[in-house]
Symmetry: C2
Subunit: 330 residues, 2 copies
């Protein structure tokens, strides 16, 4: 039997409800059933024209999926106002995430697709984790660090550092961190993406990858040893690559994932290519977890403008990763 | 009368000869005549099948252009070997550049399109300028600093800092440098690109443009004041923009040029989109100067693999800029 995917509610003042309902309308006749853990009254207010199917168990989603959007009701204490997050709803937002993770760990759903959250609203309510992903790693008792991959049909990128100031990202860059990120990426490409011998392109840090030391020492001193260590471990890694040319259409064909040295080096090429179809995949978790590659979009929430493209891509990718893991474990 | 464009020889061990001959074959029936200042024997060896027209003056290029590739002969002392730059040829490489500039300053050519040079070979021969562009500014007695713009049909980008290590680029970033670069860009968009009221998108430095100070202080302390100063001067500038999302297909429609804070932030999105059609335009020079957006490609020189796309785009763009300047001065 196909297991459904569990979708979290995300920030109810954002576009999560809209894109869930639109994604259901787009995918209802497909082969990937899913349900959302969230407030059914809120979803009815978001779009009264979409039929909802209340469910009490994940298993119930499969039968109902073609007829109505399955929702496991989890009430919100405050009525959401589009664009205005309310800390009173934070416990329910967190509960939705925890429920989905529980179902995934119990093997009752194929994976979890998380809608965007508004961290400031959660912090106001006492949330004490650096972010969504770190909390998921804790909930799943993950043995290693979670690693963020951004993927679209044309490119997969994995940054070694993420949400830190650029100057600090440079200071924090180590050979060990690059090797660990690349190893996790190579393992995920094998296990989750079905790529038997993944090819990694490791970015340089400086213009032209330092041009033999003329522009910065990090490429030779930190990144080149990481590439050598990876190759010594049998991983097909190349680099440090000149960052500006490694994402060209021609260069992209030569690798399965690019390892970026900082947030924007990895995210700029991906979002330049594909703002709407990008997917955020968390590597190195025991459960399958994807999410759309955008935020809560408070500025357009409630206006009927939200594009479900990235959520739809995240749902598809979660299903594909779950299938790859199932094949591997069969 | 249409003035021709002057093309420099560039590094004769690179792909300059191949792409010149292919560009001529592609453009010979068009409306933009051009000639190359370089060694005719070298060009004959590169591709004996292409007819050459020896010329002694720029004016002679126009009449001959449809029948043969016009070449103003400037002999190379050493026979070029593809892939192996020879410092013995450096004076001739520099002479070609200086000749083209002289013609442009005298109003005898519409502009200069430079083929890629191999700086190391020039340095070995005593060249003492940081690069091609800086030397052109000196040759043209330019009153302000030259500024590099990279342009393709989908995007124009201008980095505030160029060939320095990333950590130094961060240290060197000042409000004044951003304002100067943006002002020069806005002036060039008006004068050279015919955009009456240019819209500039100024990138942030840190992930999410610092997220209100959570990730780095530079966005608020250095970049935001630059945007405010530009707006106070009547320039339509916005920012600091989150670097990862500002190059998305949707965001690109909202501005005429992006001001990047460092080399790769500006060049990655451009080369991600369009490796072959990108053009390097030098803003703030008294002459028109463009060049292809790639290097000497020593690894493929002499193999018949070189793509003339970027040189062709550079030729077109030089012609368009020359026409825009002529209209403005008419």
């Amino acid at each position: 039997m196909t297991l459904p995917l569990a979708l979290t509610m995300g920030e109810p003042a954002g576009i999560g409800g809209e894109i869930f309902l639109r994604a259901w309308a787009a995918l209802r006749t497909g082969t990937v059933p899913f349900f959302l853990v969230g407030d059914a009254d809120w979803l009815r207010a978001v779009d009264p024209s979409v039929p909802l199917a209340p469910i009490a168990t994940p298993e119930a989603a499969n039968d109902l999926f073609r007829r109505a959007a399955p929702v496991m009701h989890a009430p919100l204490p405050a009525r959401p106002v589009p664009g205005r997050p309310d800390a009173a709803n934070a416990p329910a937002v967190l509960h939705s995430i925890a429920s989905c993770v529980t179902f995934a760990r119990a093997g009752r759903v194929a994976g979890v697709v998380t809608n965007p959250i508004q961290k400031s609203a959660l912090y106001d309510a006492g949330f004490r984790h650096p972010g969504h992903t770190e909390w998921l790693a804790e909930l799943t008792e993950s043995s290693g660090p979670p690693v963020m991959m951004l993927a679209c049909p044309a490119l997969r990128v994995v940054p070694v550092t993420v949400h830190v100031a650029l100057a600090r990202a440079i200071d924090a860059l180590t050979t060990g961190a690059i090797v660990e990120t690349a190893r996790i990426t190579a393992a995920a490409l094998r296990a989750d993406f079905g790529i038997a011998r993944p090819r990694l392109a490791v970015a340089g840090l400086n213009p032209h990858a330092g041009e033999d030391g003329a522009m910065g020492h990090e490429d030779a001193a930190i990144i080149a040893p990481a590439v050598a260590a990876l190759r010594a471990q049998g991983i097909d890694a190349r680099g440090p690559m000149p960052p500006d040319t490694m994402f060209s259409p021609r260069a992209r064909k030569t690798y399965d994932a690019a390892i970026g040295m900082y947030h924007d080096q990895a995210l700029i090429p991906l979002k330049t290519l594909d703002m709407d179809g990008g997917v955020n995949v968390t590597l190195n978790l025991p459960i399958v977890r994807t999410s759309p590659d955008h935020g809560t979009a408070l500025d357009i929430a409630g206006k009927g403008l939200a594009d479900p493209g990235s959520l739809i891509a995240a749902i598809w990718m979660a299903a594909e990763i779950a299938q790859a893991r199932a094949r591997r474990n069969a």
